[in-house]
């Protein structure tokens, strides 16, 4: 694996950008677009008065908070709105001279994919799970350009090579679930560009990916654009991505445009308050507030040689033939009142560490919480211990039972532990709702009626209900847009200040981590490769993997252009080891001030 450029590399100006987008031909022109949803109270406008032009070879970013109508706009351009519930009620969408809003479904078909293509947010679900990658690709090609299967396969291969997927021949025969998230997103991109469309709409193409993969995908999009001259509409709420990718930016809010500006101008001198707010909310590395030294370093949690393995069984008797070494002999201390962040790429065992802590997966070694080990306790003791330990899961929607009202959900821990009378419980729920900045009316509503950020706050409220000593936040802010993310982080910080609560914070977003942590541990393939205080880690990263993580972070500053880093196309290293063998144990060495690094760089 390679190391990318250090953080302090000098900015190289603008050679990657097309000379002057405004002078290029307009490929897509949206005028006064209005999209409305049908509801009991008549038509509710979701997007209104939206206009923009997209030039050949340009990247237009649409940014804005969740629910501002970004996806609706892009779907309207594709004519993929969930009609008749939501439909275009005014304005025009003109694709190189063709008025799309008036086309019938039949007339729209030949355009989709061929002249205007789209990449969806969720690479996990956007591909058909029961068709091979090859079939999905060739199908797209053959729909528009009738040709023999053989020829289509060649074209598909070409497209996969273009997105720099390793072993493209093999990939054609694989199913989506056999690919990693990044690979899937590449397939999506390959599918979208196979027919060289004029316009490519990418709806949050990287939100679901971790930093290193995000880096690769963004690089890829840029290269492709350079080669093919495709115009790209990039929808994102990550201002870092905007800064790196876009030529021009549209900032949306509540269905209409707040501001349109070239990217440099926007970042340098935002005209609207909302834009300023948005930019201010962006966490930047190096801007984390100095954090008070937690008093007294009292030990709260100790991981002692903790391992978690998932056996893979095979054969007639179900013998264990191999083992996923998700967490491998990890030792770690968490002190009362501090925030310890666990970072690392997808699949490195972060969530498993958290689950072992709260007793959701069996583990070997010992975890002591306040000196007590969950495994040694009886049911009653475990239940009591659970009061002190709460976890906020990565996907708030999945972690909330969709059939219970928010009130019931937050009340549930109180009911389980029999705290207070019904009236007291209700009062406590109200208090918690207020605490996490949710309206009291939320009590009667169901989780699906909230936005992602609000749901995450519901989870936090629920975790707080029992006044725990420690909360595990497993990627709790990854899916949130910047402004909400900022608000949630503030909330967590406030709580810590007020109640001295301890956090185990799991994330792959280095900027966020830098913002909130006291100490950071970097995990790689189930083991900790580097651990130290925030400053030690961010100013003096030692392990190559830590450095790579840091380098991959998009920087919300359009003036800064990174040198093209070497592309990674190899397989993701796997934590699966055949039975009998196991990964080599990494030795952590203290390089001063409690900064531990695994020096034999196997990563």
């Amino acid at each position: 694996m390679s190391m990318s450029e250090p953080l302090s590399s000098p900015a190289v100006l603008g050679d990657a950008r097309p000379a002057d987008p405004a002078s290029a031909e307009v490929v897509l022109s949206v005028r006064d677009l209005q999209v409305s949803a049908r509801s009991d109270a008549g038509l509710v406008p979701l997007v209104h008065g939206l206009s923009f032009d997209l030039h050949r070879g340009e990247t237009l970013a649409i940014a804005g908070e969740s629910g501002s109508g970004k996806s609706i706009t892009s779907l309207a351009c594709m004519r993929l709105l969930p009609e008749p519930a939501v439909r275009v009620t005014g304005g025009s969408v003109n694709l190189g001279g063709t008025e799309l809003t008036r086309l019938s479904e039949g007339q729209m078909k030949p355009l989709r994919g061929a002249r205007i293509a789209m990449i969806f947010q969720e690479p996990m679900t956007a591909l058909n799970p029961v068709m091979t990658v090859g079939r999905q690709l060739t199908e797209a090609i053959r729909t528009h350009e009738p040709m023999p299967i053989r020829a289509a396969r060649l074209r598909a291969l070409e497209a996969l090579r273009a997105v720099r997927l390793s072993q493209p021949e093999k990939r054609l025969e694989q199913y989506p679930h056999e690919l990693s998230g990044g690979m899937r997103q590449r397939v999506m991109i390959a599918m979208a560009i196979a027919l060289r469309p004029d316009v490519l709409i990418a709806d949050e193409p990287t939100t679901a990916l971790d930093v290193t993969v995000q880096r690769e995908v963004l690089d890829l999009l840029r290269d492709l654009q350079r080669e093919l001259g495709t115009a790209i509409i990039l929808i994102t709420h990550d201002m870092g991505v905007v800064a790196e990718m876009a030529d021009r930016v549209i900032v949306m809010r509540k269905g209409s445009v707040v501001e349109t500006a070239p990217v440099a101008a926007l970042f340098a001198a935002p005209r609207e308050d909302y834009t300023r707010e948005l930019l201010a909310a962006v966490p930047r590395i190096g801007q984390g507030a100095a954090r008070p030294e937690p008093a007294g370093r009292e030990l709260l949690v100790r991981y002692d040689e903790v391992s978690v393995g998932f056996p893979i069984r095979q054969g007639l008797l179900g013998r264990v033939s191999a083992r996923v070494h998700a967490v491998e002999k990890v030792s770690l201390d968490i002190f009362r009142g501090e925030t310890l962040s666990l970072v690392g790429e997808s699949g490195c065992g972060k969530s498993t560490m958290a689950k072992a802590l709260v007793g959701l997966v069996p583990h070997s070694g010992e975890i002591r919480i306040d000196g007590k080990s969950m495994a040694a306790l009886d049911a009653k003791g475990r239940k009591a211990l659970r009061r002190d330990l709460q976890i906020v899961f990565q996907d708030p929607m999945a972690a909330l039972d969709a059939r219970m009202t928010v009130g019931e959900l937050i009340c549930e821990p109180l009911v389980i532990h029999g705290i207070g009378t019904a009236d007291e419980q209700r009062a406590r729920v109200r208090e918690l709702l207020e605490r996490v900045d949710l309206p009291a009316s939320a009590y009667q509503r169901y989780p699906h009626q909230f936005s992602g950020g609000q749901r995450q706050r519901i989870c936090i409220a629920r975790a707080l209900a029992l006044k725990p000593k420690l909360i595990v936040c497993d990627e709790s802010v990854a899916a949130l847009d910047v402004s909400i993310q900022a608000r949630v982080l503030d909330l967590l910080r406030d709580l810590q200040r007020e109640t001295g609560i301890t956090y185990l914070f799991i994330s792959h977003d280095m900027a966020v981590v830098e913002n909130i942590s006291d100490r950071v541990a970097v995990m790689y393939l189930g083991q900790i490769v580097e651990m130290g205080s925030r400053d030690q880690l961010f100013t003096n990263p030692q392990h190559p993997y830590t450095r790579r993580l840091l380098a991959a972070v998009p920087v919300p500053d359009p003036t800064r252009v990174r040198a093209p880093s070497p592309r990674l196309t190899g397989e993701i290293p796997s934590p699966v080891w055949p039975a009998g063998s196991e990964p080599a144990r990494l030795q952590l060495t203290d390089i001063g001030g409690g900064h531990l690094v695994a020096l034999d760089a196997s990563a």
Binding site: A37, Q121, K383, C459
Partner: protein, 300 residues
């Protein structure tokens, strides 16, 4: 597929908070129709002695033609007579008593057993789950009819025996389906979330898993009504269950099915009754599901 926060097209305005499930149920026209039919069926069964124009078992002399053929629907016998000259309408009313017990109680019990076993096996897994599922496989491979016949021969036939037999043979499919669904539910995050809050097994099962099984259970329950009512007739024929002259919708059909050309009313009217009952439950069930599943609201 979980509805993703940002992609699921949900209208935002959901001011409907106050009214209870029952009131919401009443607000749906179809569900109301279903409720009305259910009430009519149950009322007809309970008040059969008051409503029925005749004794259901009385074989009327003028209920048969000289050749011994039954009378078609007419002024005296509103829905016609059966092969013994008995009034079909009265028999239908009294038959509802049996058929409701079968369609609701027996079918419900089957559903209950199936759900219990499926949920237990799917949630606890381990040796208990394995044993339960192997037992289910065994029951599935075992011919239900034979079991019924033997039980019939061993016990004194009665309505409650037949209800028990039906419950005993009909839970298998439900158990299978519920097992599969529970196993996948048990893997979901919100179950784990509940656990970390300290929720015990009972709470998890009743508050978190069962409500999610409701849609499936409704499909099986409503389709099961017809199946079990007809199964009761087969069992009656084999000597389990209600014995003649006690009527049930199923056995009215069975007794007369060979006559469906010469006396169609004897088959199609009780058939329609079964259909209506099943349909009524389905309408109510569908509405109930939509109400219990908040994510489904506004989808129709």
């Amino acid at each position: 597929m979980t509805a993703n926060a940002s992609t699921s097209p949900e209208p935002q305005a959901q001011p409907e908070t106050g009214p209870s499930a029952l009131r919401r149920l009443f607000r749906r026209k179809l569900a109301l129709a279903g409720l009305v039919i259910m009430v009519i069926c149950i009322g007809g069964a309970i008040f059969a002695p008051l409503i029925a124009p005749f004794d259901p078992n009385e074989q009327f002399f003028d209920g048969l033609t000289i050749e011994g053929a039954p009378m078609p629907p007419g002024a005296t016998y509103w829905l016609g007579t059966d092969l013994l000259g008995r009034d079909l309408f009265s028999r239908l009313l009294y038959g509802a008593r049996t058929s409701l017990v079968i369609g609701i109680v027996a079918n419900g019990a089957a559903l209950l057993i199936g759900t219990l076993i499926g949920v237990t096996a799917g949630y606890f897994r381990g040796p208990v789950g394995a044993v339960l599922m192997r037992f289910t496989d065994l029951m599935m491979a075992f011919p239900a009819l034979l079991l019924a016949i033997c039980l019939a021969a061993i016990f004194t036939p009665s309505l409650w025996i037949v209800a028990m037999v039906i419950a005993f043979v009909n839970w298998v499919q439900t158990a299978r389906v519920v097992f599969t669904q529970t196993s996948s539910l048990a893997e979901r995050d919100f179950i784990a979330a509940g656990k970390t809050l300290g929720a015990g097994h009972l709470r998890t099962l009743f508050r978190h898993i069962l409500p999610h099984l409701v849609p499936t259970l409704i499909v099986w329950a409503t389709l099961g009504i017809s199946t079990t009512v007809l199964l009761e007739a087969t069992l009656s024929f084999l000597g389990v269950g209600v014995q003649p002259p006690t009527p049930s919708w199923g056995n009215i059909i069975f007794e007369n099915q060979t006559y469906f050309q010469s006396a169609p009313w004897l088959v199609f009217i009780p058939g329609a009754a079964i259909l209506l009952l099943a349909l009524a439950f389905n309408l109510v069930g569908d509405a109930l599901r939509d109400i219990l599943d908040p994510t489904q609201q506004g989808r129709d």
